[in-house]
């Protein structure tokens, strides 16, 4: 069984295969009936232990567009509230014989543990502050569409790197696709030793102009149990990306949800160089591609009904 647990484990070729697949699904979204039968008769479980709008809704819609049966479980209001362990919850859900389990969990390594406990393909939809591989894939997809290639591009990731799984996945993914990455933020929000991942570290926006892409991170106040910066006001004054700090050729990205007026100014969010809406749109097709790449052709391929469009063929499989 294939899993998507961490960008760290994907080669450039594997990343590109998923992005190419996503391109082919972009066409499906323009049809009247936005569905392909690829996963008909198979079950996808989404299991979210943390709040989410974008990631959960796009995985759910992706599963539906691939014609899978969907079971969406949110920890709040489930047996998790009654103290059920992750292992037992996974065992319970595995009884439905799901083809895939998409899991978001507040702790690092949760998706990998689930992969050890179930026969289903496991997709990591965010594990603690560790990784968020589908976000990185959709960001690379968005950039590749806009720039053609990331080779040699300079990307600055700015803000709360310490608490950000997006920062970690993206900095690996961007570099693997040939970009040079600088992480920037106050020293209290840059993890000690991050430079060993191959990026540069800056504590000032002075050289922001050298970036082709500025990727702003959310101030994750919900993950902060203490004060990492003296005040949000001072943080915004020093590190907020606004239209004065950006030059018009630079692209602006953000994983959402944005704290308007903290890490980004309202103007910057709504400016034409902002790719934030593209990122959300990319989320759907990239997550369809992820489910497709993990599941299509692995077993029980759904027979095509008459008149249906043949689904795309997975890479490396005979058509």
């Amino acid at each position: 069984v294939k899993h998507l647990l961490a960008i760290e484990r994907l080669s450039r070729d594997e990343i590109e295969a998923i992005l190419d697949r996503a391109e082919s699904f972009a066409e499906v979204g323009r049809r009247d009936i936005k569905k392909v039968p690829t996963l008909r008769g198979r079950t996808v479980v989404t299991l979210f232990y943390e709040s989410s709008t974008r990631t959960s809704s796009s995985f759910e819609l992706a599963a539906k567009r691939l014609s899978a049966d969907l079971v969406a479980v949110k920890a709040a209001g489930s047996s998790v509230d009654k103290g059920e362990s992750l292992k037992d919850t996974v065992a319970t859900l595995s009884a439905y014989d799901p083809a895939a389990i998409v899991i978001r969990h507040p702790y690092a390594g949760a998706a990998q543990m689930v992969a050890d406990w179930t026969a289903a393909a496991v997709v990591n939809a965010g594990d603690g502050k560790h990784e968020h591989p589908s976000q990185a894939l959709l960001d690379v997809y968005t950039l590749r569409r806009r720039l053609g290639s990331l080779d040699g591009k300079r990307i600055w990731i700015v803000g709360d790197v310490l608490h950000s799984r997006v920062a970690r996945s993206n900095l690996i993914a961007f570099q693997r696709m040939g970009a040079e990455v600088t992480v920037c933020g106050p020293p209290t929000l840059i993890p000690r030793g991050i430079e060993e991942l191959g990026c540069e570290v800056s504590h000032s926006l002075e050289r922001l102009g050298e970036a082709e892409v500025v990727y702003a991170l959310r101030m994750q106040q919900e993950r902060m149990s203490e004060s990492f910066v003296p005040s949000l006001r001072e943080y915004a004054a020093t590190f907020q990306i606004d239209t004065r700090k950006l030059n018009p050729r630079q692209l602006l990205m953000h994983p959402g949800p944005v704290n308007r007026g903290v890490e980004l100014s309202g103007e910057a969010i709504d400016s034409p160089q902002s790719l934030i809406a593209d990122q959300v749109a990319a989320g759907l097709v990239v997550r369809m591609a992820i489910l497709y790449e993990l599941l299509a052709g692995t077993e029980r391929p759904a027979p095509l009904a008459e008149g249906e469009v043949s689904p795309p063929t997975p890479i490396g499989q005979p058509a």
Binding site: H105, A108, R168, R192
Partner: protein, 448 residues
């Protein structure tokens, strides 16, 4: 104090046996050669010429090619009783110790409830006399229920038989309380063993703070969380002329602090665990909490090298396992949620032999010296193979290869940091406090 004067063990038959043609190595006693080790009535009676010893009624163990060492002493074990007997108790914990070649261990006091009253100590000593395979000594907490506020009744605890004091599992955060304990030591005696950590610096950390924690997005425990507290307590111990023992050293900075304090004449001793001597935080990349989550955390290779250097020069005078049993349900959870600690009694010698002695990093003699070095800091007599000594012997086959966990564990818990590892060197027989405490099942014995 000899082992049996200071510690408790289930009374049994005093061993009478001959280890025929064993390679005997006791660097402290200056013994290194092939002998028949004659044990009579629980004492080392003689080291006779190989093949020549006879003794009526003695069991003869053909030990040619095997090594006889003074049995090991572990000053840092969690027996989990009272309160968590599903993880370990006196019986299973001492069986694990015996299987690892230990003749004596010290049990930590962070049980549920903690060992804070003379009655707690007495009850545990009774349990040891009823079911311990090796000699066990018990530490009592420094502060009531380990709250770090008021001192326990240290005099009465000592009278009840507490070997020393420790709030292990937690640091003593309040410096004034620490100072009072060190002052009071003049009255009650007993070494104070310290878990050194600044909880403010450790925060919610779950592993060493550095490039690996940065890559994994895990909160880090910086090295200075340990070293700053050791520096504080070394200064307090110097001020009071008190005696402290620093537990589970993990960081290069800490080694420096202990070395400097010693050079300045502070009465400070220190231990390191086999896992800190063998592993680094690179292991945590697997996010496997069963084997790699513990406190203090595994640190960088440079820290490991500093610990090895300190083991060599005596800054660290003993190996201590910090044997910390946990049940599977506390470990079968994501890394950040998992309980801290790994077991180590059954594998300590074999792991260090495999990882440090065989590659030539340290000599066998040094390892043997350090494996029993945990007795002296607590005023317990060091196990010895010199004739006339109480028989405390670990008979080991240094060529035996085995896979950890394949045949299960003597411990009640399976969270061994060596699980699945192939190790070279195995304890075949352990004699503890004059009694045969362990023999490997597959090892056949002859009778004279």
């Amino acid at each position: 104090m000899s082992l049996t004067e200071a510690l408790d063990i289930r009374p049994g038959e005093a061993a009478t046996l001959i280890l025929r043609r064993a390679t005997v190595l006791d660097p402290v006693a200056g013994i290194d050669g092939v002998h028949d080790v004659v044990v009579r009535d629980g004492e080392i009676a003689a080291l006779a010429a190989p093949g020549e010893a006879t003794l009526d009624g003695a069991e003869v163990i053909e030990a040619e090619g095997m090594h006889a060492f003074p049995a090991f002493f572990d000053p840092h074990v969690h027996l989990r009783t009272p309160g968590h007997e599903h993880k370990e108790d006196v019986e299973t914990g001492t069986r694990a110790a015996a299987a690892g070649g230990y003749c004596g261990i010290l049990a930590m006091a962070n049980t549920q409830p903690p060992v804070s009253t003379p009655a707690d100590v007495s009850a545990l000593r009774e349990q040891a006399r009823a079911g311990a395979s090796v000699a066990v000594g018990f530490l009592a907490t420094v502060t009531c229920d380990m709250r770090g506020e008021e001192l326990t009744e240290m005099v009465e605890l000592r009278e009840a038989g507490a070997l020393g004091f420790s709030d292990d599992g937690l640091p003593i955060v309040n410096a004034r309380v620490m100072l009072r304990a060190l002052q009071y030591q003049r009255l009650c005696g007993g070494t104070i063993a310290l878990h050194e950590e600044d909880p403010q610096l450790s925060g919610a950390g779950v592993m060493h703070e550095g490039p690996v924690s940065a890559a994994l997005g895990l909160s880090g425990i910086p090295s200075v969380s340990e070293s700053t507290m050791i520096a504080r307590d070394a200064a307090l111990a110097a001020y009071e002329g008190a005696r402290i023992h620093v537990q589970h050293l993990s960081a290069a900075e800490s080694v420096e602090v202990v070395r400097a304090a010693r050079a300045a004449g502070v009465k400070i001793s220190a231990e390191a665990s086999p896992h800190h001597l063998c592993l680094t935080d690179e292991e945590v990349r697997s996010l496997d909490p069963h084997r790699f989550k513990m406190n203090p955390p595994l640190r960088r290779e440079s820290d490991r090298q500093a610990l090895i250097a300190a083991l060599r020069d005596g800054t660290i005078e003993c190996v201590a396992t910090d044997h910390a049993p946990h049940q599977a349900e506390e470990k079968d959870v994501p890394f950040e949620q998992a309980a801290m600690g790994v077991t180590g009694l059954e594998t300590a010698f074999a792991a260090l032999h495999t990882e440090l002695v065989l590659p030539g990093t340290i000599g066998l003699g040094l390892l043997i010296e350090r494996m029993a070095g945990g007795a002296a800091p607590f005023d317990v007599e060091r196990p010895s193979l010199a004739p006339g000594a109480e028989a405390n012997v670990a008979l080991c086959d240094l060529g035996a290869r085995w896979t950890v966990g394949e045949e299960g564990y003597e411990s009640c818990s399976e969270n061994s940091w060596c699980a699945g590892k192939a190790l070279t060197g195995r304890v075949m027989v352990t004699v503890a406090a004059g009694q045969v405490a362990f023999r490997l099942r597959s090892f056949s014995l002859g009778v004279a």
